[in-house]
């Protein structure tokens, strides 16, 4: 049920930023960890086993999973006292930050086409979230961040 959100203050903003940062850090860490293993060449038991063994043995993958678990815990904690109108925009903007950091830290090649797509997604998510009050279709919990 909607409930009045407390007024924005430094603590709440810090908590929302922490939530977003955990999600971005988790995604970047998983990409960093997974790009070190050769991609699967077929959908076979042998290939799934090879990736599974890497995932089970990689500390970096475990750190990535832990960051995403904390991100999800932070989301649940935030939603217990804030409504989507505050958490939502932070998610929308996280697409831009994640892309920027993937380019700066991981050296991914972000073409103008990809930037344009990310900008449209950010705008679209902002429009969707501006309709979030009242009974609307659900929003996914894992959309960004």
């Amino acid at each position: 049920m909607p409930h009045p959100s407390p007024r924005l203050n430094g603590k709440i903003i810090a908590a929302v930023l922490l939530y977003v940062a955990l999600g971005i850090a988790g995604d970047l860490t998983l990409r960093y960890a997974m790009r070190q293993v050769p991609p699967p060449t077929s959908i076979s038991i042998a290939e799934i086993g090879r990736l599974g063994a890497y995932v089970a043995s990689s500390t970096q993958v475990k750190i990535g999973i832990a960051l995403l678990a904390l991100n999800f815990t932070a989301l649940l904690a935030l939603l217990s006292f804030l409504d989507v109108s505050i958490v939502g925009p932070a998610r929308a903007i996280s697409y831009l930050f994640l892309t920027l950091l993937a380019w700066l830290i991981l050296g991914e090649r972000v073409t103008p086409l990809r930037w344009a797509g990310v900008a449209l997604i950010t705008a679209g998510v902002a429009v969707i979230l501006s309709t979030a009050h009242g009974s609307q279709a659900p929003t996914p919990h894992d959309a960004g961040a």
């Binding site: 991609p39 697409y95 344009a116 997604i121 705008a123 501006s130 609307q136 279709a137």
Partner: protein
Amino acid sequence: MMPEPDWKTIGGVAFYVLLGVAGDLLLSRGMRRMPPFTGFKASEILRFLAHIWTTPAVIGGVTCLALNFSMLLALLTWADISLVAPSRALSYLVLTLLARWWLGEEVSRRRWMGVWLVSAGVLLVLLSG
């Protein structure tokens, strides 16, 4: 100029997103059938665990989400995170279509506008692979 579409990545991302949406829907359907949790007592926790392990929708939802995460790890062996993460927003399109045609919910024009913007954005991101 549009580059040549990378069908392996596009198919992988589509499968990844659909598994996530299916998992979320099944879990919420399964968990809503459980009488609400009344407190942290041993009997309540047992009832909760019993519900989880005996409700097919919950088991199905958890399975879909486990496959969804495995698919993410597999995708990230070759696909950029700056491609995969923004593409997750495709779930807004899938959820809105399901809400409209399956649950029969009213979807406002404003929401449709947002959904089409997101979908166009995901299309560009996927073509940038």
